[in-house]
Structure formats: structure tokens, C-alpha cells
Symmetry: C2
Subunit: 644 residues, 2 copies
Amino acid sequence: MVESWSFLDTVEPNFRPLVVIELAKGTKEETIEWFTKRIVDKKANGGAQLLVKPLGTENGEENIYLVGASQLRLLLGAETVGLVKECNDNSMRTFTYSSRKTFKGFAGDNDNFLTIAECQYIIKHELENLRAKEEKMIPGYPQAKLYPGKSIVRRLLTNGILVQIFPLHDGEELKKLRHSWYGRVKVGYQPLDEIRCYFGETIALYFGFLEYFTFALIPMAVIGIPYYVFAWEDYDKYVMFATFNLLWSTVILEVWKRICAIMTYRWGTLLMKRQFEEPRPGFHGVLGINPITGKEEPVYSSIKRQIRIYLVSLPFVCLCLYFSLYVMMIYFDLEQWALDYHEENESTFSSLMLFVPSIIYAVVIEIMNRIYRYAAEFLTSWENHRLESSYQNHLILKVLVFNFLNCFASLFYIAFVLFDMKLLRQSLATLLITSQIINQFAESVFPYWLQKRHKKKMKKRMYSMKTDTDMSLVEQVNLEKEMGTYVGTFDDYLELFLQFGYVSLFSCVYPLAAVFAVLNNITEIYSDALKMCRVYKRPFAEPTANIGVWQLAFETMSVISVVTNCILIGMSPQVNALFPDSKMDLMLTVALVEHLLLAIKFIMAFVIPDKPRDIQIKLAKLEFESLEALKQQVRAPDMHSSEK
Amino acid sequence: MVESWSFLDTVEPNFRPLVVIELAKGTKEETIEWFTKRIVDKKANGGAQLLVKPLGTENGEENIYLVGASQLRLLLGAETVGLVKECNDNSMRTFTYSSRKTFKGFAGDNDNFLTIAECQYIIKHELENLRAKEEKMIPGYPQAKLYPGKSIVRRLLTNGILVQIFPLHDGEELKKLRHSWYGRVKVGYQPLDEIRCYFGETIALYFGFLEYFTFALIPMAVIGIPYYVFAWEDYDKYVMFATFNLLWSTVILEVWKRICAIMTYRWGTLLMKRQFEEPRPGFHGVLGINPITGKEEPVYSSIKRQIRIYLVSLPFVCLCLYFSLYVMMIYFDLEQWALDYHEENESTFSSLMLFVPSIIYAVVIEIMNRIYRYAAEFLTSWENHRLESSYQNHLILKVLVFNFLNCFASLFYIAFVLFDMKLLRQSLATLLITSQIINQFAESVFPYWLQKRHKKKMKKRMYSMKTDTDMSLVEQVNLEKEMGTYVGTFDDYLELFLQFGYVSLFSCVYPLAAVFAVLNNITEIYSDALKMCRVYKRPFAEPTANIGVWQLAFETMSVISVVTNCILIGMSPQVNALFPDSKMDLMLTVALVEHLLLAIKFIMAFVIPDKPRDIQIKLAKLEFESLEALKQQVRAPDMHSSEK
């Protein structure tokens, strides 16, 4: 073991700060000492065996620490988290330290074998796996209870002693990434592999999906343009467009799975074994025995959780949905009232009044979405899910259902109750375009402006008191710790999901929606890239093999859009003219076509394999090898006993 | 290694015959010698290390051999095939010879640790894994080519040198099983665990499903009886019955998954790792390199197979479906003609003529099903699938689609084109009941009678020339080798599948169908049990964790039945009377209800977990343990390197 890993030696020349730990101001000395000791302590003593160094600011604030690790430590950590890397024979394998020489790009103490994002992920993993031994509480904070096996960092976070942990940006790398991502004016793909190296797989996959989705919408947009330009209103053209759209949306979602498999295979996350999930930070319960691990940890009855979900959350969500519909009805009443008012006394004021209801409704929708989001987060956290993944799934489900209704209910009402196609087209266009503009502004432009102002202020302050040589690092840390935290891809996917709804649900009424979606997504790529690189703290990389529950959400949307489009086509006057005598025949035909389309969709989803053939073969090869290895293991005692 | 495993020592006193090998009459001496040598040869020399003994008949026919194995060999084989057994701490673990002491019921050379079915499965596995080494052909048969790694037994089978391999019945065990299964008159569950021990998991799972399905139909039957008795024809009662049926069928299919998981967990197959699949016997191709194993084996281009599937098989199936519909139309024409004839000249002859069309149609359907079955088998085998599982899936799909159409097309036509509910009810009852009677007879009673006659003849012949002391074994082998081969659960599941169709597709028209299904299934259990125990050769056990593609087939049927029932209810005069003014409103309501029911179905299938909670915990525990074990393995070099 290299001796330089002890606490005192951390100020070694080759210390490279990777992660920043910010403790609360005024944290007790003994706590800091105990915590840093645990971080640098040897693995055998229950430590994380990392390097730690206080950020030496002149004003003596001892609350910010930089964490790094030796190259050897990182490689061993890569083995612990189960990273999958490419071997010299081009196959992907789980990295182990003992077989390190067989991996591509490994050359002794090569720094570039692990990407910085991976190094930071390893450090985060090691910090989170720092576990209490005999400690009954955090030294200096008797109210912060510990039990054997409890993650120290999570307890420090929940008790507010630890303010945040975040990975540092890497100026040079970021510059390179920015340049190849959005720095130069060019038409082409995003540098997804570079994004993945810098931000990790989850974010790279989001940008990959955004790009893929934009390309996938182009055929729809191209076909949609002539409908607008030539004002085509023929029955058969509409039906063709809608049919194409519906089948196309199935194809693109299936093909995405294949592309996703190709990417994540290359990145190694497709093969990465799922780690055993820890209880999430907010989880609480009576201390008991986990039936799976056999270790002591808080236990919460599943039946109690089910009761909370089905008897409290579900009714609450239904109530909210009802309330949202109620508000919508008020909006339509207001709209009618404004129309009547305008017709009675026509004036400039009255024509302005026409816009008032929709403005009010838009504002109310936005407010309701926000309030509901908080309520959903509160409720889901109160449901006390043990795992972060199950918490996320329940939260996403709640938010999705509400957002879907809140955004599309008025369109459904206009389409299927008022039967007003002109109004539907108009509302759809207004909603789509305004929501896109607001989103782009609220998400990227505004925070970017804020961030720029803040940076300027910081720089001024820094320059006014420049003393140290290593100032740039101090400056960087101080700047980054004030940056906003990127809370995850949830909102970005939600935006895409709602956009997909606008494009596909009523596609046969408003073919131009795809054009706007494409235009929006092109700028979205740039504004999201700007947001990631300039506005937010660097997020920790999160290995992932797919876009998870969003795949299901998009597929559900495409099923719903089959139903809506079939009804819309059935209601169109052109189609009605084809069945002049019998509405029955019309309805039957529409129902038949709808069921046929749904059946085709399901068959297509079933027939198109989720992984391309070469990836399937590679995966089968790995499985075969592991089976063979197992057989060898089995055969070893076999041979042994046969030699007896 | 014990020396008694060599060829000459096989006539040891404790040799217990488990499997019978029947070679073609007149097989060359050198081939027999080579083959038996390979069977008894040591593992290290590429043999199977089993025991083999010719069945000494007096007439000098040297073409039947008995295969057995020492207890040690069987235990090592259990490890090779990856059997999962219960440990002393009640957890299920993959058996390894080195950890044998930790398993429940293991006591030294305990014969009962492995069931006979497992022993026979192991021997089959070992025989099939006898692979050619340097041999270029089978000695004595230059046309039977071999290449390194080719399974010898499969080549012998395809060349007709090996007639059959089958496991022997065990008289005593069979007697016990028969007694507890159907020997005494009792009401209760089947002895599924005993069936599984004797016949293996696939067959036990079929009987488990049959029993479960029968119980699941009882509520439908109970609710259906009053509809018949009181001749209820109210709208709301019909709707209630149909709604109950539709939701119920979802519930039973979901609950079956859970019950199946409980059973297969207990049997160990839920945890059993899938073995790497060999090419199926009929698979042929140019000798090439398998991209997965890297070994030499026949290779067949996937694109060629796709072309055969989509350009030949698919059009052929469509043509057959069209032909089946065409025949149906002829039947309806005939029916009409007979009716007209009867009306014109009413006589005894003319009223008899009324039955002629349906009799002809029933016969034609039966003939078409048979011919199609052969065609499907031929086509699927011509598609040249590499794996038995993929061959089976394609065959099942082809047969299912055709059988579905052939059996239900006339009912669909009566219901949705002729709108004749009376006729529908009548046809449904006739079809269901006659098909049940024919099936029971053709499947069990007739073969049983044949078998009994054959046995008597054999016994007579045997008694007339009794010479040996060990005659009972010779007699048993000779008797069993002439018995029919049970080709698998396909036809049994198909029968249940069609029955499920009769019960659920038109359940709201004929609620009594469930009653007949229950009655049929109760006798079906007994007749199938009789068939397994008395009529057929004992089949090899086949470990399986679920009913495979049948689950999907039943679920698809229940989705289709939602659609049909909704339409039927929408067409009923009672419901039509509720919407006297507007057919539109009626249709909209029906469509809405249908979509709601489908949505509820999918949500229910999504919400009900496929495995019960305790099984989930047990599986998670095993996964956790294997992850921990992996970590220990990882930590070992870690420690090692840190001590350097």
C-alpha cells in the first residue's frame, strides 16, 4: 500500500481535485476531523481511502474540501462499481484490476483510461458507501443517529451538516466539448461520446434521444408542409398522413430501442450489472432486519405503503384531475362570456377582452402544474419508498398523468365535445408555440443571463482581493458552488413528451406541428447544451442502459394517438361525405380501422427486435463465455474428485 | 475415479436401468462397439462415463441397450445441468458436488436425493452432449458425416441408426403415483409435486395449469347457471356478467403467473440458468464458425431464413386462412340450400338433410386442421431454425392462427354478419360439446383401448416363451418400446386454448359454456392422467419455469374477447332499446366502454406483480448474495495488491 494515502500526505504535488464537499458553516471541529479521517482511512479500517484537501481560502472558512484519489484507488474503485470497458479484442468486459492489461487504452498509470466523469462517479460511490461502524451518532451532533451499516454521507446530508457534494468542471475539457458541441456553426451529429465522457450516460442518452427524435420528426414535418402550403383537405390525403404518422411513431420508438442498445453497448452500460440498491436518503422506518440482506436497517411495512398509495395518493390525484377539469370548464365559460360580451358591444376593449380568458387559463395551468408538482413530490416522499427508483417511478407517473390532462384536456374538449376543428387547430398552434417559447426562455436563456451576471460579480470580488497563486481553483470552486443544481433529465423528457403529444395526438388536424417541433428541437439542443455547460453545476455521471419509464410513456402516447386520430378522421366532413346514408357504417369502419392499426402497432412492436443482431450476438457470446467459465469451475472439483 | 465404470464392469449387481436405447435392427457391429465405448468412456477421454448393458433377450437381438449411471456420476451430472435444490436453510441453490452436504435430504449415497426423472434427464443430457472428436463419420456408416463438436446421438438419430431413446417407467413409483393421482375417488388437488418427480416440470406445469384453469372457471360457471335456469335476458345482468368475465379472465391469467412462480420456485426451475442451446437435430447448413461460441458448426444465413418466413411461409399461411374462409362460405351456402330444400318439400329426408352441411363442415374442418398441421410442420422445419425453441415458437404461431380462424370463423360470421344470436348460441353449444367429446375419445379412451389390446397380446407372447428369470424387465422394455410417444404438451394446451376461446369470446351470449368447460376439464384431468400413466412411453423430464408462449396466447385471446363481447352487447336488442333515437350514441358508448375495459385490463396486468412478494424477496436475496460473493472475489485481489 502506498503510504502517501494517509491524511497528512494529501498535499502531494499530483493531487487532482475531482469532487467538492461543502459542509455547513460553523460545523464542529470534531465532526470535520472525524469525517475527513473516515474519508482518507484505509479500506480495511472502514474508510474510503481517498485523498482530501481543504480549499485554502484566505478568510479562513474551513467548510469546503476537495476530494481526489490516486490512480490505483480509482482503478480498484472502477472494479467495485463494475465498470464495463472495451478490451483489446474489441469485446466489452467488466473491468477488473487483475486483468487491467487486457483492456484497450490501458498503459500503466495512464490517466486517460478512466474518463473524469467515471472517476467522479467512483468517488461519489465510495463516499456514499462510507458506512457507520460502532458509532451511535455523528460526533458533535448527538441528534444525528447512526446504526451499523448506515451511509454516513446520507446521514450528514439529511441532517444538514453536509450542504452538498458536487464534481468539479474541467476547464480545458469543457472548452473542447463546448467547441465540438455548439461552438462552431456546422450541420451534423452531436459529439455524444464526448458528452458521455464529460457528463455521463444519463445526460448523453437524453441528448441522443433529443437528436434522434428530431431526426425522426423530419419525415413527418416534410410530409406535413405541403398540407399547409397547398391547403390540402382531401379525405384520402389526410388518412394517408395520419396512417403514416401512427405507424411511423411506432417504428421510431422501436428503432430507438435498437439505437439505444448500440450506444449503451459501446459505453458499457448495457452490460453493467445493476448494483444492489440502497434505501433512499428520505426513507425512514423502525430499525429492523432487511429480509434480503439480513442486515439491520430501517424497515417500513409494504402494506402501509400500499394503503398510503391507494387510499391517499390515488384519491388525491383523482381529485386534482377533477379540479383541473373543473378549471377548464370555467375557462370555456369565460371564453363564451367574452365572446358574448364582444358580440354585444363591439369595441377595442371588448376585442382585447377576447384574449383575457386564454391568458388567465394559461397562467392558471402553469400555477396548477407547479403546485401539483410540489404536492406530488410531497406525497411520493410521504409514501416512504425504500428505493430511489421506485420513488422516481411513482413521482413520474403522478406528474405525467396530471400534466397530460392539464395540457391536453382543453384540446380534447374542443375536439370531441365542441367538434370545432378550426378552434382546435388554432388552440393547438397557440399552445405548442407559446409553450415552446416559454420553455426555451425559462429553462436556458434566463438562467444563463442570471449566471452571467453572478459570474461577473464574483470575478469582481475575486479580483479585488487576489492574494494566492492557486486563486483560479478557489475562484472556480466558489463560482461553481453557487451555480444551480441540475436536478435530472425529468423536466427535459417531460417537455419532449408533451411535444410528442402535441405532434401526434391531433396530427391529422394540424400537420404543421411536426415542423414547429423540429425547429424547436434544433434550438433546444443548443440551449440545453448551453444550460449544461454554462448554467448548472456539473452533475454526477449516472450510468444507465436506457431511458427507462419514458420509453413506456412515449409508447402509451402513441397508442392514445391512434385512438384520437381515428376519431378525428371519422369526424371530418370529407369522410362523413363518403357515408352519406349511414352513420353506423362510418362508425363501424372507423372502429375497424382503429383496431387494425392498434393490432399492427402491437405486432410491429413484437416483430422488430429490441436489439440489433450484432449486439444480440455479442451479448450471447458473453453469456456463452460466462456459462463456459462456470462449467470450467464446475469441472475443476469434478476433475479433482475423479483423481481421488 | 472408480474403476468399475469401464465397459466390462457394467454388469455389476447394483446396475439400475434408467434409459433405453433402441438401435436399428442390423446395425453394424463396429458401430455398436464404438457407440457403447463412447458412452462408458471417461469424461476426460470425451465419453459420457455412463453404464451400459445390452438387454439380453433370448432371440439374440442385440439392438436394445439399457443405460444407467453410478450415484456419483449422477450427482456430478446434476451439477453440469445446473439443477437447483433446496438447502438445509430452506433456500434454493444451484447444486454443486462440493457443497452437497448443505442440501436437504442429502445423506451420503442417498438414492432419493435426485428424483428418477432428474436422473433420466441427466443421462439424456449427457448422451446428447457426447460429441465427435476427430471422427469424420460414424464408423460403419460413411454417409453419416461428423465434425468436431457435433452431437453423436443427434447424428445417429437423423441417420436412422438410433431408433429411439426413452426413459423406463418405474413400476412401483408409477403405482403410487396412479393411486394418489386418480386411483381413489376423492375431491382434492392433484399430487403436482409427485407428478413433477415422476414426469418432470413441463408436464406437471400442464396439469397444474389445467387444474388452476378449472378452478378459475368455476366462478364463471356458477354465475352462468342462473342465466340459463331463469332465462335472464335483462340488459344490465348481461353487461354485468360480461364485465365480470372480462376482468376475471385478466385476473386469472395474472394470478397464474404468480402461482406458477411459487411452484417453479419450489421445484427449483425458476432459478435454473438457461443452458446454452444446441442447434436442433433437423438444422442444416454450410459448415462455418458460430459467431457466439467461435466453434465450427453448420451456419445458415439469417436473411435467407427471414426470406423463407416472410416470402413463403407468411403468404402460404394467408392463403390457407383464405381457403378456410372460403370453405366456411361454402358451408353457409350449403346450409342455406338445405334450409330452402327443407322448406320446399318438407319430409323426413329433408329434415335429415338439414344436418348434412354441418356434419360435412365438421369433417372438413378436422381434415383441414390435420393437413395444415403437417404443412406447418414441414414449412417451419424448412425455415431451418437453428434452435428448437425458435422452431417451436414459429410452429405454435402458425398452428394457433389457423386453428383460431378455423374454429371461430363460422361463429364470428354468424355473430357479426348474420346477426343471428339464436344460431350463434346453438352453434357454440354444438361446437363446444362435440369437440370436447371427440377430443376425450380420440386422445385417451381410444389409445388406451389400443394399448390394452397390445399389452394383452404381448403378455401372451411373452408367457408362451418365458425362459429367463429377469423376464419382467425384458417384458417391460419390449412393451414400452412399442408404446406411442408423447410428443409434448402442445395439443393439450391447444385444446385448452380453444376451450378458453369458446368460453370467453361469446361469453355474454352463452353463459353456460363455462359450465361445460368445467365439467370437461374435470374428466380431462383424469383422462390425461390415464394417458400419461398407461398409454404413452414415459417422456423425458424437461425443466421449465413457465408455460411459455401459451401465456401470451391466452392473454391475446382475453383481449380479443373484450372486443367481441362489447360488440355483442352493443348489438343486443335490450341495449338497442336503451338508445331508441340514436344509433350513434349507442356505438359511441360501446366504443368508450370497450376502450375503458381494455385500459383497465392493461393497467391491471401492469399493477399485479408477476411474482408474489415472498418469492421476490427470496430471489432478491439470492441476487444480493451473488453480488456480495462477486464483491468478495473482487476484494481478494484488492487486498492482495494493497498488501504489496
